[in-house]
Amino acid sequence: MNRVETGKSTSKGSEGPSVWKGEFAPSMESSSTVKIRPRYGHYIAGGWVAPKAGRYFKTLNPATEEVLCEVAEGSEADVGSAVQAADRAYKDVWSKMSGAERGGYLFRMARLLQERAREFAVLETLDGGKPIKESRDFDLPSACNHLFYYAGWADKLEYAFGKRESRAWGVAGQIIPWNFPLLMAAWKIAPALACGNCVVLKPAETTPLTALLFAEIVEASGLPPGVVNIVTGAGPTGAALVRHPGVKKIAFTGSTEIGKLIAQNSAEFDKRLTLELGGKSAHIIFEDAPIDQAVEGVVQGIFFNQGHVCCAGSRLFVEESISTLFVEKLKRRMETLRVGPPLDKNTDLGAINSKEQLTKIQGLIQRGKEEGALYFETSCKLPDRGYFLRPALFERVSPSATIQREEIFGPVLTVSTFRTPEEAIQKANDTQYGLAAGVWSDKGAKLFEVSRRLKAGVVWANTYNKFDPCSPFGGYFESGWGREGGLHGLYPYREVL
């Protein structure tokens, strides 16, 4: 219904409608720079060692379901070797080193990782399924920045603990998840080392490869052997690490279910725990919000990284007076999201990390439908193999519905409405979790007050999913204990005397 009528006639050539209709030819990032070995051992005491029990397991590319390689299955004995190596390194070398020197190694690691960032980004995408656009532009820079940031704290710890003397714990056992494999490794290793600890890291079983490649960075930086050790494996390997008496400090990021198990199993020991667990974060949109930007924030909040984000804004609360308009805009924006091969630079949503996770999400979606919510998914085409889902949302969700209470950890948003700020706050806080929350409004006073009243460790006002090495991150209640990032991220890694 175009009201422009130009008076001129066309007499030469074809002035007609344009040729480009919005198609994108595949634009694949090359994976030729990444060399994956057929098989990996553990990285202990500065060298590669075969698993003592001789067992390996496969890791797949979730976009193609192809096997990438085999990695070692860490037994109790392997964990023991690693802890011993870390302990030795701590007592003989690391505890005697000045903060400036420790920092020097971290600076080197940050710079070395920056040099090989593209290689790591491609590997991250291959192993985990996230779009190359994200691993290239978010995961890798953030990981480098985290290392660089904490390097600068190593020789300034006297400013972090006031007048109190402090010392490192010794050996820190660190268990990380599959949603941001390398980034989580950086989030764990950096503060631990800066504070003078040595580390045994256990990457997630579906995404071990970037951590293993990181061992090359560790070596190239000249870090004394045993300061960083990497033991691969699944749940039992992690459990062995948690149980080990030589590990005083445990840091875990993963599901609330496992976090609780760890806390229970550690009850009789004097173990220091930090836990970054699940979430079911509320995303509140007031009628005086910058609407188009809020739509964008909601989309980023739940569909970024296929929704595999602990702080995903998975429960939308929109003021009733604008809910129709808002949801319409939201659906329209969702339709422009491209689900496709993770190595394609135009892909917005990559593969779901594993068959297991895919099944879990599908199960919850089914539950949602059964419990009476109204399901919507976009109409995009999915690749014919691999684990993929379309971005989706549920309307008409009741507060007690399973999909409203349980963490889905996928690209699925629930939509609810509210009438007043009080109602929004009450509904947002109605959860056993407390990791993050988002709130959108043009009114400053309202934003500050609502932020204050929301029971969440991170509140994003007029934005969402923003991270910075100096910004502390962590949750209330069942979203975990402790903070990562910033000055506050040092606290878990030193014993105050």
């Binding site: 130009t6 209709k21 919005g22 994108f24 188009d292 630079k345």
Partner: protein
């Protein structure tokens, strides 16, 4: 704060306050620069850009001969042998000149599909009487311009006299008659905030603009992705409410094909495929054409050509 306007039909209309978060806008705008167009899609997009271009010369030093050469370029962007090599490049959408050069352009573009766009209303400042601005338009139209690019009165806008801004646009639209379409230049670089840009967009559309345009090209910053995004969003909101499709033209600041691709991706995702046509989207540019042509040649032949072989004016 909402703005009240007395419309031509006597109704008192309120343009409500529409808050915009500039950080969010910048982030979304930046995301379009990451879109990667390759191979066939890229070539299509590049040729589309040429068809969408308003080839512009707005200098005090413009003479008839200068404009005649520009028109030659407009009709046939590439010399024949190169044109054949790449499978044909369409003529540009329009040539954009000062009113005094309109007769020249009209003469040299007769019997072609290239439109003659004239700036008007005392472009670029608009700091003259309303009568003079209207006379400017009338003359351009009478000399044969088929597109009028007017400027809003920033004087009136920034002092809060939105009614005057509205009334002027209405009168100019009347003066265009049925022979010329109206582009309204907001001069976004002078408006200060994105909220103001959105407000000006709504005002212009309400008053009868066929196209809303970012800049005169005489003030920095000119067109940027964030500003364009906000204007596209105002166009979308208007379409939702009325079913009417308004056109958009970023001008002054789009210099490379790479940047232009980001704009096209943005138009596609924010408005939809219907807007991917010169009837609804234009690039106001002069230097852009050469870069686009160079990219077209590279896509087809694999080599980077130097501009000297293009026959630039």
């Amino acid at each position: 704060m909402g703005v009240k306007i007395r419309l031509t039909n006597g109704v008192l209309e309120t343009i409500p306050h529409h808050p915009i978060d500039s950080v969010g806008v910048s982030e979304r705008a930046a995301s379009f620069t990451k879109r990667s167009l390759k191979k066939g899609s890229k070539l299509e997009a590049l040729k589309t850009m040429v068809a969408m271009m308003d080839l512009t010369t707005l200098e005090g030093a413009d003479t008839p001969e200068r404009v005649r050469q520009l028109c030659g370029r407009a009709r046939q962007p590439l010399p024949a042998h190169l044109d054949e090599l790449v499978g044909g490049v369409p003529p540009v959408a329009a040539v954009c000149v000062y009113p005094a050069l309109v007769p020249v352009a009209v003469e040299f573009l007769a019997e072609t599909s290239v439109q003659v766009a004239s700036v008007s209303t005392a472009f670029p400042s608009s700091q003259v009487s309303g009568e003079l601005k209207l006379l400017d338009v009338q003359q351009a139209v009478s000399w044969g311009a088929t597109e009028i690019d007017m400027v809003i009165s920033r004087n009136a806008f920034l002092r809060g006299d939105y009614q005057t801004v509205y009334d002027e646009i209405v009168k100019v639209k009347e003066a265009c008659g049925t022979g010329a379409h109206l582009k309204v230049i907001l001069e976004t670089g002078e408006l200060g905030t994105l909220d103001q840009v959105y407000r000006a967009s709504k005002l212009a559309i309400l008053a009868g603009a066929d196209f809303i345009k970012t800049s005169t090209g005489k003030v920095q910053p000119g067109a940027t992705l964030p500003v364009t995004l906000v204007m596209l969003q105002s166009i979308f909101d208007h379409f939702q409410q009325s079913g009417q499709r308004i056109g958009m033209k970023p001008a002054g600041g789009v210099r490379t094909a790479k940047e232009a691709i980001a704009y096209l991706c943005m138009v596609y995702e924010v408005l939809g495929v219907e807007w991917l046509t010169p009837t609804l989207f234009r690039f106001g540019a002069s230097r852009l054409l050469n870069d686009v042509l160079r990219q077209i040649l590279r896509q087809v032949t694999g080599s980077y050509y130097n501009e000297e072989v293009f026959g630039s004016e």
